[in-house]
C-alpha cells in the first residue's frame, strides 16, 4: 500500500505562558488535534520539539516526561470514547491518581472532584453509559483535574455536546480554570466558543499559524483573509444577512493560473492563496511570514501577528 505523506503541522511556533488562555482555531484537517497530541507528548514531532518549563519532552523517552504527565492533562471531544466503558466513573477519575502515584485518600479526592464539576457523589458508582453527554464530559474534566495539573488542554471539549448543555460545560471549564489558576489551551473549530474562553487566539490553516494575537484583536479585527472568512461563516442570530462582497464570490479562482490545489503539498507561496479572494501574483510566489504590523521580526509576546502579505495596511481591510 502506498501512503501519501501529509504534513499535518509545519513551522508552528507557539509559546504558552502560565495563566494563558490560548484558543487554537482551525477547520477540520488543519492540524489542531495533532497539535494537542504533540503538546501532551503523546506523539513525537518528525522535526522540532516541544518544551515544558524549558526542557524538551519526547513521547519516546518516558524518563523526562514525569513533570509533563503530572502537570498537563487533556479533555477530549467525545466523552463516551474517552472514558473506559467498563470502568465506573469513580475508578476512571481515580486512575490518574493511581498511575501518577498521587498520595492521599483517593475516594475523598474523587468526591471532591465530582463536586467541583457539579456531579452528585453517587455518580462515582455509575458507568459512563448511564450518564448523559454533558455529565460524561464533566467526568472527563474531573479526571483531567485529578492530578492537580497546571495546564489543561481541551480538544474540542464541547463540540460533541448538545447545544443546550454546551454553555454549561463551557462555563464550568471557565470557572475551573479561574478557580485553580490553570493555563488553558482550548482547541476548537468554533470561533464563538473560543471567544468565550480564550484571551489569546492562534488560527491554524493547513498546519500553519496564519494569525495570532489577543482574542479581541484577532476576532474583532482579523488581519488574515482566512480568519475573516471564518468569522463570516459564524452564524449569527439577529443580524441582517448581507450579501458577500463581489470579490469573495471568486473563491477558488486562480490568480494568474498559479494556484496550488489543497493537497499538493507545500508550494512556494501562501497556502491560502488558492482560496483567497484578495490574492495577488506575489501571494503564489512568496510565503508570507507571521509578523506584526510593526517590526519584521517577532514582536512582543501578546502582539497581533498575521501571515499575510496584505495584512495590516496594504489592501487589507483593518
Amino acid at each position: 500500500m502506498r501512503r501519501r505523506q501529509v504534513v499535518a503541522l509545519d513551522g508552528v511556533s507557539l509559546d504558552v505562558w502560565p495563566g494563558d488562555r490560548l484558543g487554537i482555531v482551525g477547520e477540520s484537517g488543519s492540524g489542531k488535534s495533532t497539535l494537542a497530541r504533540l503538546l501532551l507528548a503523546l506523539e513525537d514531532p518528525d522535526e522540532g520539539e516541544v518544551r515544558f518549563r524549558g526542557s524538551p519532552v519526547r513521547a519516546s523517552c518516558r524518563a523526562g516526561l514525569g513533570a509533563l504527565r503530572r502537570n498537563v492533562q487533556i479533555v477530549f471531544q467525545d466523552p463516551l470514547g474517552s472514558l473506559d466503558p467498563r470502568m465506573r466513573v469513580g475508578a476512571s477519575i481515580a486512575e490518574p491518581l493511581r498511575s501518577l502515584g498521587v498520595e492521599g485518600d483517593r475516594d475523598q479526592r474523587v468526591a471532591e472532584l465530582l463536586e467541583a464539576v457539579g456531579l452528585p457523589p453517587g455518580a462515582a458508582r455509575r458507568y459512563p453509559h448511564q450518564l448523559s453527554g454533558g455529565q460524561r464530559q464533566r467526568v472527563a474534566i474531573a479526571r483531567a483535574l485529578a492530578p492537580r495539573p497546571s495546564v489543561l488542554v481541551a480538544d474540542e471539549p464541547v463540540s460533541s455536546l448538545d447545544v443546550s448543555v454546551r454553555a454549561q460545560v463551557l462555563n464550568l471549564l471557565d470557572d475551573l480554570v479561574e478557580r485553580y489558576g490553570l493555563t488553558l489551551v482550548f482547541i476548537s473549530h468554533d470561533l464563538g466558543v473560543v471567544r468565550h474562553v480564550a484571551d489569546r487566539v492562534a488560527v491554524l490553516y493547513r498546519g500553519r499559524i496564519v494569525e495570532e494575537g489577543p482574542a479581541d484583536a484577532v476576532l474583532g479585527s482579523p488581519a488574515h483573509p482566512y480568519t475573516q472568512a471564518l468569522l463570516e461563516a459564524v452564524p449569527r442570530v439577529g443580524g441582517a444577512i448581507t450579501a458577500p462582497p463581489a470579490e469573495a464570490c471568486g473563491r477558488g479562482r486562480s490568480p494568474a493560473g498559479e494556484a496550488a490545489g489543497p493537497l499538493d503539498g507545500p508550494g512556494a507561496g501562501c497556502d491560502y492563496s488558492w482560496r483567497c479572494p484578495l490574492a495577488e501574483a506575489r501571494c503564489a510566489r512568496e510565503r508570507p511570514v507571521l509578523r506584526g504590523p510593526g517590526r519584521p521580526t517577532d514582536g512582543p509576546a501578546g502582539e497581533h501577528k498575521a501571515a499575510c502579505h496584505l495584512a495590516f495596511g496594504g489592501r487589507m481591510a483593518p
Binding site: 497530541r37 501532551l40 503523546l42 518516558r62 516526561l65 514525569g66 504527565r69 503530572r70 498537563v72 492533562q73 487533556i74 477530549f76 467525545d78 470514547g81 474517552s82 472514558l83 473506559d84 466503558p85 467498563r86 470502568m87 476512571s92 486512575e95 490518574p96 498511575s99 501518577l100 452528585p120 453517587g122 455518580a123 455509575r126 458507568y127 453509559h129 448511564q130 450518564l131 448523559s132 455529565q135 472527563a140 479526571r143 483531567a144 485529578a146 492530578p147
Partner: protein, 306 residues
C-alpha cells in the same frame, strides 16, 4: 400484585436509583436481563448447565460402574428397568458410561481452552501493543500454525506422548492458539486506538498497565465467547479423535469411543450408537448456542475490527 416495571425491577434487584441521575441505574443488571431475553443464550445455557450437572453427579454417583465389566449380565441388552439405556457389548451400563463420558468431554474443553488462551491471548495482546515487525512476526507464526492440520498435529503428539484425552486436547488447544491470538489482537487494537487509552497515556499509564486495566476488561467478553465456542469444538474433536483411537483410551468412557465400539454392532443394535451421538450433538449445540447468545448479550459494541 403488579408493580410498575421500574419498581418491580428495583424490588427484585435491590439496585438503588439515585434520583438526581435518574436514567438507568438498571444498567448494572442489564447483563442478566439481556441474557434472560436472549433465547439462544438461555437454551445454550440450560443445555451446558445440564451437562455440567451430569458431570458433577457422575463424580459421586452413576447407576453402575461405568468401566468395570460385570459378570452375569445380558450383553447388548435393550433398554430396561435396571439398565435405562441398555448395556453394551461388554455388558456395561450405557447410561453410566454416558454420564462418565460427559466428564471427559468437559475436561477436553477445559484443557483445550487453557492451552489456547494461555498461549494465544498474551501473544495477541503482545502483537497489538508492540505493533510493527514484532506484531507481524507473531501473527505470521500464528498463520503457520493455522495452516497446519490439527489432525496431523494430534497424530504426531499421540505418537510422541501416547494416546490420552490430555494429549488429544493439547493438540486441539495448540491448533486453536491462532484463533485466540487473532481475537485478542483485534479486540486489543480497537481498545488501544480509543481515546480513553490516549487519556491514560496522558496521565502516564505504562503500557503493561494499560493492557491490564483497560484492554483485558474490555476484550474479556470476546474471549468468553471464543472460549465457549472452543468448548464445542473440543468436545467434537475429542469424540472424533477417540473414535480414531487417538484420544481417550479404553476402558475410560468417552462419547467418541462409545461410538466407535458401537460401530461393530451397528446392524443389530443401532441404539447403542444413537446415545453417544445424541449426547455429542446436544453438547455441541448447547455450547454453540451459548457462544452465539453470549456474543449478543455481552457488549455488542465491541466486535473485532479485523
Amino acid at each position: 400484585m403488579t408493580l410498575p416495571l421500574g419498581l418491580r425491577e428495583r424490588a427484585r434487584t435491590g439496585v438503588e436509583v439515585a434520583p438526581e441521575l435518574g436514567a438507568s441505574a438498571l444498567g448494572d443488571m442489564g447483563l442478566a436481563r439481556r441474557f434472560l431475553s436472549c433465547p439462544a443464550a438461555l437454551i445454550g445455557g440450560a443445555i451446558t448447565g445440564l451437562l455440567v450437572l451430569v458431570a458433577l453427579v457422575s463424580l459421586v454417583w452413576t447407576p453402575f460402574d461405568p468401566n468395570a465389566i460385570p459378570q452375569n449380565v445380558h450383553l447388548l441388552a435393550g433398554p430396561s428397568g435396571s439398565h435405562l439405556l441398555g448395556t453394551d457389548a461388554l455388558g456395561r451400563d450405557v447410561l453410566s458410561r454416558l454420564m462418565a463420558g460427559s466428564r471427559v468431554s468437559l475436561y477436553a474443553g477445559v484443557v483445550a481452552v487453557v492451552v489456547a488462551s494461555v498461549v494465544g491471548v498474551p501473544a495477541g495482546l503482545a502483537a497489538a501493543s508492540l505493533g510493527g515487525s514484532a506484531s507481524e512476526a507473531i501473527m505470521r507464526l500464528g498463520d503457520i500454525l493455522f495452516a497446519f492440520p490439527a489432525l496431523l498435529g494430534a497424530t504426531t503428539l499421540t505418537a510422541a506422548l501416547g494416546a490420552s484425552t490430555t494429549t488429544a486436547m493439547l493438540a486441539i488447544g495448540i491448533a486453536s492458539v491462532p484463533y485466540f491470538a487473532r481475537v485478542a489482537r483485534s479486540g486489543a487494537l480497537a481498545v488501544l486506538s480509543s481515546e480513553y487509552v490516549l487519556a491514560a497515556r496522558a496521565y502516564g499509564q505504562s503500557r503493561p498497565a494499560i493492557v491490564r486495566r483497560h484492554v483485558l476488561p474490555n476484550i474479556a467478553p470476546l474471549l468468553v465467547v471464543q472460549t465457549t465456542l472452543l468448548f464445542s469444538v473440543a468436545i467434537l474433536a475429542e469424540a472424533a479423535l477417540s473414535y480414531l483411537g487417538l484420544g481417550t483410551p479404553p476402558p475410560s468412557a468417552s462419547w467418541g469411543q462409545m461410538l466407535e465400539s458401537a460401530q461393530a454392532t451397528l446392524q443389530t443394535d443401532p441404539l447403542l450408537a444413537l446415545w453417544p451421538a445424541l449426547a455429542i450433538a446436544l453438547a455441541v449445540l448447547g455450547f454453540n448456542l451459548l457462544g452465539d447468545g453470549l456474543s449478543d448479550v455481552l457488549d455488542p459494541r465491541l466486535r473485532p475490527v479485523a
